[in-house]
Structures are given as C-alpha cells and as structure tokens.
C-alpha cells in the first residue's frame, strides 16, 4: 500500500491539495470509484461534540454509522461485493510509518489522538442528551461525511486514513506536510 496513491478528500475547505466537497454526495462516490490508481483515501472532515479528554484533531480508528442510511443501498456496483466487510479499513498512524519513507522527525500523525466517530446525517447537531447517548455507545465525537465516504471506499477495496478536525481548528503544519509528502 502506497500513500502516494491516495485520493484526497476534504470536507472542511481548508487544504489546497485536496478535492473539496461541502458534503458527501454522489460525486464523492464517483471520485472514489474512478479508475485513477489509488489504494488509500485520505479524508478530512469536521469533528463535533468531542468527548471530554478528546480535544483536538483525531485519526479515526473506527465508526458507528448512526445516520440511518448507507451509501451502498440500491443495486450493487460491480466494483465491490454486495456485502462488504468494513473492518480494518481505517489506517492508524502506525500503518503509515513504513509506507513511503522513514519519517526523519517522527511521524506527526502519531501525535494525533485516535477515536471512534459517530456518523450522523449531514447538518444534524446532537443535543447534550444525544451526545451522552453516543458516548455511551462508544463514540468520541460525531461527524457528517467520513462514515459514508469510508463505506464507499471500503466497497471499492480502498483503505482510509481519516482525520477529524474540530470546528475552528486546523491541522498542524507538520500533519499537513506529512499528508502532502
């Protein structure tokens, strides 16, 4: 797996080297499924409602799809299986260490906390009670676009490096450089 063969999707409109989308839609699926050589999708999305002790940007380690929907509903696209297995799709910082070259200053991605995202319907803001429920189910924050993107990517046989950035925050230059590199 080579990170250099990565499709880069940004839902935060912050990173110039990425394809920008306001929210997950059919065009995201088309980008994931196009024939451009890729093994990984790098996704940057907003994180909302971070649990206590989960400040800052996160690498997703797993997710709960709480949206009530799934991008694969409908006739199956021949790019993938009817019933895709979506475990072990998210890449960890450790997974990226030996991908390209040895990080001379350490791997900045490893400084990000990892967490579990609850994927909810785009635009939905959870109230305190709903947040508490999401935390009790294992989520550390919620976001709108990463979960359907990951499902579409997994179906297409791609791994996902997903980064969730809280509102009003940016990824550090080191992380951005790492992704660019």
């Amino acid at each position: 797996m080579k990170l250099r063969y990565a499709k880069r999707i940004d839902f935060t409109s912050s990173y110039p080297d990425f394809e920008h989308f306001e929210q997950f839609n059919q065009k995201v699926i088309e980008l994931i499924r196009d024939k451009e050589k890729a093994e990984v999708v790098i996704v940057i999305d907003r994180a909302y409602g971070l649990a206590p002790k989960h400040e800052g940007a996160h690498l997703l380690s797993d997710h709960l799809n709480l949206s009530g929907d799934n991008p694969l509903v409908g006739p199956n696209d021949a790019i993938g299986q009817r019933f895709p297995v979506v475990n072990n799709i998210y890449l960890s910082a450790a997974d990226t260490i030996n991908q390209e070259e040895t990080w001379t200053m350490g791997n900045p991605l490893s400084k990000l906390r990892s967490g579990i995202a609850a994927g909810v319907k785009p635009g939905l803001r959870l109230n305190d009670e709903e947040l508490a429920l999401a935390y009790s189910m294992g989520a550390h924050f919620y976001n709108w676009n990463t979960v359907p993107t990951m499902i579409a990517a997994a179906h297409a046989g791609l791994k996902v490096l997903a980064i969730a950035v809280p509102e009003g925050e940016q990824l550090s230059d080191a992380v951005v450089m790492t992704i660019r590199r």
Binding site: S67, P75, M137
Partner: protein, 276 residues
C-alpha cells in the same frame, strides 16, 4: 434509486387462491442459504416474478413460493427469498410477501434469517428463536438517524408461536447430543455492509444477541393481524475481536449446514400446528 413492486398484496393473494383453495396452516420465509422442506407433497411452485412482479437479486435466494404439505402434515407455504431495503426496495415492497400472507389469512408465519452472532456464548450453526428485536432499519430513521431507535428497548416478540418453537425444540434435543435452541434479541440493520467492530460492541451494549438485515419489517407487518409471526436466526458467525470477519460465502455455508436442524424443527412444529 428506490424500487417498488408492481403488484400488490391483493394481487398476490388472488393468484395464491387460484393455486390453492386451502389456506396453509403456516408460511415460512427462508433467508440467505437456508433450505428446509424441500420435499413437500403435492407441491405447486410459483415464482416471485409472477407473484409479486419482481425477483430477489441476492445470492442464496431462489425467489419462489411453494405450496404443499409435509408427510402426514398440514398445508404449508414456503417462500424462498425476500426483498431487502439494502437492495433499494421500499418498505411496501420489503413487506409485500408478509402482507400477502396476512391478507391470505395464514395463521402462522415462521421467518428465518442468517444472522451474525453477537452473544459470545453462541456458536456457528446455533438456532436462535427471537424473543425480541431492535428496529434499526426502518426508513423513518433516515430522517432522524439511529439515536431515537437506540434509546428504546427491544420490542418483545414472544408469543404462542415462538413458545411452540422453543417447546418443540426442547423435545427434539432431549436425549440427543444436539444443542438446545438459543433465544435472544435480533437487531435488524439496514446493511448492506457488515458491521464495524465498534458497531458490534454497541449492539452488544444494547443487549442484542444477533444481527442481520431483514425480518423486522415482516414482524412489524403482522402486528395487529390474525397472523402470529415468530422468527429463527441461523447464527452464521460469531464476531470476536481477534478473529477476521467472514463474508457472504461464510454466511451461505453456515446456513446450509444448519438447515438440517431447522428442517427437523419446522417439520415437528408444523405437525403440532396441524393438530391444533
């Protein structure tokens, strides 16, 4: 793209009445890879295409309805396959077969499904009689998300038919090496992808014992009707963090292997229902 069946439950019942003047004592819906009652006497077969105007498109579902009777047993209708929400069918289509069974006046509906085991005490091939279910696939949840569904406890679906399954199952295992039937809560999810490990852990916290992508719409279709519905899950895998998750082939193999036990169970239950 949402697909609606071109025929109604009334259309289907009209055709079924032409095939059989006798209303079966039970209808059985078979899920992925599950195979029972393959040797019905005086069998009459009609395809879903003819009956509902649609054929199921998932491997392991033949898409036929067979009416016949077991040896010395009552008349039964066996439905091989179902329509799923994940295929893009709307709720009326997914519930069409069950609504036709209700409208036909069939007093008992036995549903089967292939399900992933959440309960760590389960083994592959176990049969679980549903005592409850969680509805995490209702299209209404597209508007609200799953959180409202998570908040509510499972729906209790124990009734005379599920009790009959357990009672007959107990008798069949007495004195044999066969494992007793499990009983538990089924979580119906939209699919079509299998669950992430975080979702599996969430469902375990919600006290679900098995998870699948069907059955709940059919159970709901029988609510308030004269048809009593009960369901049996064939446990096709048990998800443990240290084990890789299998795919649909594994599901079909496990279903096939458990079908013999299910066949014995259903034949015995049908005999009992025929006596009633």
């Amino acid at each position: 793209m949402i697909t609606t069946a071109p025929k109604t439950a009334a259309d289907a019942v009209g055709q079924l009445k032409q095939i059989s003047s006798v209303v079966p004592v039970a209808a059985i819906v078979l899920g992925s890879g599950v195979s029972v009652l393959d040797d019905l006497h005086d069998a009459r077969v009609i395809s879903y295409q003819e009956l509902f105007g649609l054929a199921p498109g998932v491997a392991g579902h033949s898409g036929t309805l067979t009416i016949g009777h077991t040896e010395d047993g009552p008349m039964v209708a066996v439905l091989r396959g179902r329509f799923h929400l994940y295929e893009g069918y709307d709720w009326p289509t997914v519930t069409l077969a069950a609504r036709a069974i209700v409208e036909w006046g069939v007093p008992n509906l036995l549903l089967t499904n292939a399900a992933g085991g959440l309960n760590l005490e389960y083994s592959v091939g176990d049969l679980m009689v549903l005592t409850g279910y969680r509805d995490h696939l209702n299209p209404q949840l597209k508007t609200t998300g799953l959180l409202p569904a998570i908040k509510i406890p499972p729906t209790d679906c124990r009734n005379s038919l599920s009790e009959k399954l357990l009672e007959v199952g107990e008798k069949l295992t007495l004195g044999s090496k066969e494992k007793s039937l499990q009983q538990g809560v089924y979580a119906g999810l939209l699919g079509p992808c299998y669950e992430t490990m975080a979702e599996i852990e969430m469902l375990r916290r919600l006290k679900a014992d098995a998870v699948g992508m069907s059955t709940v719409p059919e159970m709901l279709s029988c609510d308030g009707s004269a048809t009593t519905a009960a369901a049996v899950s064939v446990i096709t895998n048990v998800w443990r963090p240290e084990e890789a998750m299998g795919g649909h082939e594994e599901v079909l193999t496990a279903s096939k292997n458990a079908s013999k036990r299910l066949d014995r169970l259903f034949r015995a239950v049908l005999t009992e229902l025929g006596k009633a």
